[in-house]
């Protein structure tokens, strides 16, 4: 690739990585508290629709992101009520919430725009190039000429890292995810922590969805989340439950996905299905290569009941 193409490739990598990064950062928080939210997909699609409707209603993409976040949180709250409140199995609950999220968004979309949908064109999030930074050779335009939501991810990763590993609250969250009974004995409100962590995950998944609708596509389509929830969960593992690494992992996956389009555009004449499998194969390789024995939070996915 020429340098121009390379930087275009990097731009694409970041664009594809950002929604994953947002969702995965949220999932990192909830998984660190011992809650694996397979319902993430539901939060993302809800965020996309919520974002679209909000942007239309207020005529502002910015407000759309907020409504998207709210929608994502709403879905996560349903998940948490069952998985945290009732202590129901997290995997089943997540499966159901994903099903319901995809269905409900479709239902709402049709209720709002008619059975055959409509050619929505929304107020979109314009790319917001950062002065100076954008001029950094090669990576500048890739990293710093993105939609504002991208910068949210950049800022959030280090903040979450600091919060998790350097503050008492973060310590409590990790303790809840490692050994809830011990955490409770230390006076941590296990359920509340898990509940709130799950909500945070939902908010960020919602923002990711809003990003898809408002920054990426400029529209909403049923099932437009296209499995990104699952990929985000994989990204969390690839990032070893560490916000900084998770951001990196998301961008890595973005690059792996971007590769397929560039190889196709460059006229490599392989069947495209093989290109489509590429990101997953690369991620597997990465897992085998360096993630090694990265350990999940010990209490991940285990329902917890006091007493």
């Amino acid at each position: 690739m020429t340098e121009a193409e390379l930087s275009l490739f990097l731009e694409a990598s970041v664009r594809l990585g950002i929604p994953l990064a947002l969702a995965a950062l949220g999932e990192t928080i909830s998984e660190r508290s011992g809650v694996i939210n397979i319902g993430l997909e539901g939060s993302i699609i809800a965020g996309a629709l919520g974002g679209a409707l909000g942007a239309l209603a207020f005529g502002s993409a910015g407000l759309g992101v907020l409504t998207g976040a709210a929608a994502g949180m709403l879905v996560a709250a349903v998940f948490a009520a069952f998985a945290v409140g009732l202590g129901a199995d997290q995997i089943i609950t997540g499966t159901a919430v994903t099903l319901g999220g995809l269905g409900m968004t479709g239902a709402v979309y049709q209720a709002r725009f008619g059975a055959t949908g409509t050619e929505l064109s929304l107020p979109t999030l314009q790319a917001l190039p950062l002065p100076f930074l954008e001029r950094i050779p090669l990576v500048g335009s890739a990293l710093f000429a993105q939609a504002p939501t991208a910068y949210v991810a950049y800022v959030l990763a280090p903040m979450l890292w600091y919060w998790l590993f350097r503050t008492p609250a973060g310590l409590e969250l990790r303790a809840v995810g490692e050994a809830p009974d011990a955490a409770k004995a230390a006076g941590v409100r296990v359920r509340r922590v898990r509940f709130l962590a799950t909500l945070v995950g939902g908010v960020l998944a919602g923002v990711a969805g809003a990003h898809l609708a408002l920054a990426h596509a400029g529209t909403f389509a049923e099932n437009m989340s296209a499995g990104k929830g699952f990929i985000a969960i994989a990204v969390v593992v690839l990032g070893r439950w560490n916000p900084l690494l998770v951001l990196g992992a998301a961008l890595f996956f973005g690059a792996a996905s971007a590769l397929q389009f560039f190889l196709q555009a460059l006229g490599f004449d392989l069947p495209y299905q093989l290109f489509l499998a590429l990101p997953y194969l690369l991620t597997l390789a990465a897992l085998g290569g360096w993630v090694g024995r990265a350990r999940a939070p010990a209490a991940l996915a285990i329902p917890w009941e006091s007493e």
């Binding site: 995997i91 319901g100 499995g227 069947p271 085998g288 999940a296």
Partner: protein, 364 residues
């Protein structure tokens, strides 16, 4: 009580899943009705269609509900076995596709053979392919200590694209036009279980497998060892002197094989050709099916039927009551949540649904 040791964490009578399911349907009805009304649809018509389309008539029940439940039961059994051994195989979907591709391949190639040879060959190919699809995650777990939850999810995506590639490439129909294979040889197709219906012997296979697996888990030493390793690898090693790694490897592969069988049975029994989007996510639904059954194989038979009926009824809801497909997803979600809710409320102390233990990560 049939088996001395059947108790433990999953102790529950065979019929509990049924009871829970029935109660759940009632509860769902309520919430669902409210939502449907809000959406401007007639809940009663929907319910009626649901029932008619799933258990409305013997033919509907046999030709649609039972046929639908086969892949759910098989993948559900695959998941249940793996989870029992503490192997968190979320990869049934990919293994199913691998099995389907292999079955289609053999079914197309083995044209000359008689059914008595070809049908078993097709199913064996599916088993082998499913197991093969589980090898990589299995190795990554035991050799590198990479948790299988993520690797199996990734293998799902790879498997789906692999199948898509097959129907666009090597296995594409002879005219090379549409993304599908030719129809597999007559001799490769599963014979009907009940003549005159769509129900194929795959259902019998699934039912027998469920029965056999129950006996195996609760009566055989190997089955007991599997449960022990799943419940506590440390205790299994120190007190039982059980080689946890061998159990883990075995269950991972067998689980993959059974999931692969699901794909093979679907191709050989229903579609008779390989298409893209063969599965609507059975491999994921299977997790709910298995866990709702408390990982009891016979329970899986029941919950698999429940989900089969659910999906069959869903189709009818669209056709007869004009409920859009999107709403159907909502209703299915409601049913699952209702089952969960009831299960938790009914329970007094002691988890009935085991928490899937992803925690502790890889380390075999």
């Amino acid at each position: 009580m049939v088996d001395g040791g059947a108790g433990g964490r999953f102790a529950r009578t065979r019929w509990e899943p049924v009871a829970i399911s029935l109660g759940a349907i009632g509860l769902t009805g309520l919430v669902g009705a409210v939502l449907l009304l809000a959406g401007g649809f007639d809940p009663l018509a929907a319910a009626a269609a649901m029932v008619r389309g799933s258990v409305g008539s013997w033919d509907v029940f046999v030709s649609i509900t039972l046929v639908r439940s086969v892949p759910l039961i098989l993948t559900g059994l695959a998941v249940a076995l793996a989870f029992r051994a503490g192997v968190w195989n979320i990869g049934a979907e990919g293994q199913l596709y691998a099995g389907a591709v292999a079955a289609a391949g053999v079914g197309l190639a083995g044209g000359g053979l008689p059914a008595v040879l070809l049908v078993p060959a097709v199913l064996c190919a599916a088993l082998a392919a499913g197991a093969a699809w589980a090898v990589l995650p299995m190795l990554m777990r035991v050799r590198l200590g990479v948790g299988e939850v993520i690797t199996t999810i990734l293998m799902n995506f790879v498997g789906i694209h692999m199948a898509a590639y097959m129907v666009h490439g090597p296995l594409q129909e002879s005219r090379g036009v549409f993304p599908q294979t030719d129809a597999i040889a007559e001799a490769a197709r599963l014979p009907p279980l009940l003549p005159g219906t769509r129900l194929h012997v795959g259902f019998a296979v699934a039912a027998l497998l469920a029965l056999g697996m129950t006996v195996f888990l609760h009566r055989s030493r190997a089955g007991f060892r599997i449960r022990a390793v799943g419940a506590s690898p440390e205790a299994a090693h120190v007190s039982g002197r059980i080689d946890a790694r061998r159990v883990l490897v075995g269950c991972f592969l067998v689980s993959g094989a059974v999931a692969g069988l699901a794909g093979g049975v679907e191709v050989a029994g229903v579609t008779h050709a390989l298409y893209e989007d063969l599965s609507p996510g059975w491999g994921y639904t299977a997790i709910a099916v298995a866990l709702l059954a408390g990982l009891e194989p016979l329970g899986v038979l029941v919950t698999g039927l429940l989900f089969g009926a659910l999906q069959a009824g869903a189709g009818a809801m669209q056709r007869d009551a004009g409920i859009p497909a999107a709403w159907v997803g909502v209703v299915e979600a409601l049913v699952i949540l209702a089952v969960l809710g009831l299960d938790r409320l009914r329970r007094t102390g002691g988890r009935v649904l085991p928490g899937i233990r992803i925690g502790g990560g890889g380390g075999a």
